[in-house]
Subunit: 277 residues, 2 copies
C-alpha cells in the first residue's frame, strides 16, 4: 500500500468537514472510528478541531477543552462554531457537535472551548524537566494483532498501528499491573504522519488506563483538555497515559505524546467515569 | 479575631453573586483579590463557579474548564450562565464573566464550560497510586511575612495564610531551584475552612512555578481546568504545583491539593504564557 499523506489519508477523510454556511460545518461520522459502537472521543475532538481551524483566524489548536454530553453514533452530524475572541497570537473559539435524533431534534454530543494559534510562529526555547517515557523500541513492542482480541468492538484499532509496551499489556492476558499505566508507539495504519490536528486523536486513542487497573468496562469521558505544544516531527510517536487517582467513581487520565525528535508535543488530562462492575 | 465560617468570610463576600434575572448574576470584583492589579484567575473561577452552582440543578463543581480572554479589573461585572445539559448525576453549564469598558461595551473576561454534580453522593472507593507531597509541617514552613516583599503588588496574599516549603522559596532570595516546583500549606487568613468552591481558588493561588525557574514576570493563564474530586476535610490543605514543560513561549502548571485526611481533593492543569524577559 502506498503511504498516505497529510490531506489524503483515512484520518483526513474521517475528519472531513464541509462548510454549510459561515461557522457551520456538515460532517459524516463513520463506523471506522468507533469504540463499542460510539465514536472515539479523540476522533470527535479532531473533527471539531478541524472545523475550528477553518473558522478561526488561527489554524493550530493550542488548548482545547471538551465536555462530553451524549455518545455520538455513526451518521451525519453538524458542527456549529463561534468566534469568541480574536487576538494577535491567539484566537478563542467555541464549537458544538450535534446529531439529529429519530424525532428530528438536534441533540448536542460535545461542547468545546479552545484557543488557537500558530505553532510555527512559536519561539524555539525549550526549558523543561520532562523526559520521554522509557520503553522498548517498536520492534520489541506488542501489536494488537499479537494478543487476544480486545473486549468488545474496537473499529478504531484498525485505523492505527499501535505497538504497546509489553510491560503494560498484562490486562490483555488477565494480569493487569495495577499501576494505571499504558505506553505505546502510535502511528496511523496507512502511514500518514502526525500533525497538530491528529494529536487531538492521539491523546485519547490508547486503551484506557483503567484496563491496567483490572477494570475492563467502558470509561466514558466527562471532560478532556489537550494542550498542543509543538508541531510533531515525522515518524512514530510515543504515548504514555497514567492514572494516579481513581476515587469516588471517577478517574483522571493524563496523556503525554512525544515525537521522534524527543519533543513533548502534546499533553492532555481527562476526567472519566469508573467502569461499573 | 473570631474564626470565619463557610458562608461568612472574606472569601464568601469576595465571591458573592446577586441574581439579576434567571441565569444572570451581578458581581462586585474587589481589589482584595488581585495580583498586579488584575483579579486572580482562581478567584474569578470561584466567582463564576458560585454562579453556576446556583444556576444548575447540581451544586458542586466536578470539572471546570476556563479560557481567559482579557484581564479583569476591580469593579462591577456580570456573569451570564447557560444550562447546557441536565443529567441525573451530572449537569453541564457554560458561563462568561463580562465587564463594561469606558465606551459602555461589554467585554468578555473569561469563558467557562463545567460539569457539576453532588460530591456528597459519590461512592467512597479510593484506589489510587497518588501520594501526598512530602514537605515539612506548617511550623517549619515559611510565611510570606518571613521573606522579602514579593515583586509587585499581591493583595491576594493578605487573604491567605500560605506557609511555603523552604525548599521551594529560593526564588524569593534570588536563588530559584530551577525545578519548577512550589509547595505550600494553604489556609484562609480569616480561618474559613475549605469547601468545593474555594478549591477553585486554591488551585491558582500560589506564586507561579515559573518563579522557581527564575522567571519573575507575570504568567497570564490561557486555559485552566480544575477537577474537584472530593469534599475537603476541615484543616489546612497541602498544595503542590509543578511545571515539566516550558517550551515555545508557554508552560503548563499542574496543581494538586490534598486535605488533612490525606485525600487528593483537587487536580488542575493550566497553560500559561512564559513571562517576557
Amino acid at each position: 500500500m502506498a503511504q498516505a499523506s497529510i490531506g489524503d489519508s483515512e484520518f483526513d477523510r474521517g475528519t472531513a468537514v464541509t462548510l454549510r454556511e459561515p461557522g457551520v460545518y456538515d460532517v459524516q461520522l463513520t463506523s471506522g472510528w468507533t469504540v463499542m459502537d460510539v465514536l472515539n472521543g479523540g476522533h470527535l475532538l479532531a473533527v471539531i478541531g478541524r472545523a475550528l481551524g477553518d473558522a478561526l483566524p488561527h489554524s493550530d489548536p493550542i488548548a482545547v477543552s471538551a465536555h462530553y454530553l451524549t455518545p455520538a453514533k455513526p451518521g451525519p452530524a453538524v458542527v456549529r462554531t463561534e468566534t469568541v475572541r480574536t487576538g494577535r497570537t491567539l484566537s478563542t473559539g467555541q464549537a458544538s457537535l450535534f446529531q439529529t435524533d429519530e424525532d428530528g431534534h438536534e441533540v448536542e454530543r460535545i461542547r468545546v472551548l479552545s484557543s488557537y494559534g500558530d505553532l510555527a510562529a512559536l519561539p524555539d526555547d525549550v526549558r523543561t524537566s520532562a523526559k520521554p517515557p522509557a520503553f522498548p523500541p517498536p520492534e520489541r513492542c506488542v501489536t494488537t494483532a499479537d494478543g487476544p482480541p480486545p473486549p468488545g468492538d474496537f473499529a478504531l484499532i484498525d485505523r492505527l498501528a499501535l505497538r504497546m509496551d509489553p510491560a503494560t499489556v498484562g490486562w490483555a492476558l488477565g494480569a493487569p499491573s495495577g499501576k494505571g499505566e499504558i505506553r505505546a508507539w502510535f502511528e496511523f495504519a496507512d502511514g500518514r504522519d502526525a500533525d497538530a490536528l491528529s494529536l487531538l486523536l492521539t491523546v485519547d486513542a490508547l486503551p484506557p488506563t483503567s484496563f491496567d487497573l483490572g477494570l475492563m468496562g467502558w470509561t466514558p469521558t466527562v471532560e478532556l483538555t489537550a494542550h498542543i505544544r509543538c508541531r510533531p516531527a515525522p515518524g512514530p510517536l510515543r504515548v504514555a497515559i497514567t492514572t494516579r487517582n481513581l476515587a469516588g467513581g471517577f478517574l483522571e487520565e493524563d496523556a503525554e505524546v512525544w515525537d521522534s525528535a524527543d519533543r513533548l508535543v502534546a499533553q492532555s488530562r481527562q476526567l472519566a467515569r469508573v467502569p461499573r462492575g
